[in-house]
């Protein structure tokens, strides 16, 4: 599964994207964020407050309870500040 990070999530993790295969127990976006938070110091910092993290699966917004099975690309990022 391809993971993409943006803004301060990207900066804290130290990379813009990576390919990872989370264990089968990781079913939802919320599970993924919790699992990633255990993958090292940068990840723990990026996901220290999971409630503010926004997510997209295959370039569409999803909620934290969305299932990630079959996702090609999951993006995790802070609340958006465009316009």
């Amino acid at each position: 599964m391809k993971l993409r990070y943006f803004a301060w999530v990207r900066e804290r993790i130290g990379k813009a994207e990576e390919d990872l295969d989370p264990p089968a127990s990781v079913a939802t976006v919320a599970d993924l964020v919790a699992w990633l938070a255990q993958q090292g110091e940068g990840y723990a910092y990026a996901f220290e407050n999971p409630n503010v993290i926004r997510a997209a699966i295959d370039k569409s917004h999803v909620h934290a309870d969305a299932r990630i099975a079959g996702a090609g690309e999951v993006a995790l990022f802070p609340p958006m500040t465009g316009g």
Binding site: R4, A56, K59, A75, F77, P78, P79, M80, G83
Partner: protein, 162 residues
Amino acid sequence: MNTTIRLQREPFDAALEARKLTGGRTDIGAVVTFTGVCRADEGGEPIAALTLEHYPGMAEAEIARHVEKAIARWPLLGVTVIHRFGRIAPGEDIVLVITASSHRQAAFAAAEFLMDYLKTRAPFWKQVEKRGGKSWVEAKASDDSAAERWSEPKPARRDAAQ
């Protein structure tokens, strides 16, 4: 329907884009042009520049989804959305929304709808450069509530006399 959605690093020409939308047509009676401009301050502190990061592919798709919603909701005759990314200095334009319709109400409402959604749903993130270094702009609750007022169905109004 004349629809243009563009993400670009370089500046845009709002007047030129408006002319492109209306050129050769006589059914358009109202054109609303909104330009978002980079201020020289953020949170009361001076800034040197903004840098806009975006999610290529999703940003275009998300803007297109909201343009489709606007077209379904109001009798529009043309829509242009241009959003810049990269480094933008104070005084430079950031975003352009143009809506065209036969009458002004639809053009005003659709432009405001599109801007409110661009602020909260389009995957862009602003970083500011201040004297003390770089920092990410925090999302504002007021932008969320501005976008939420467009969501349907609307809550039933209480009778003020009761």
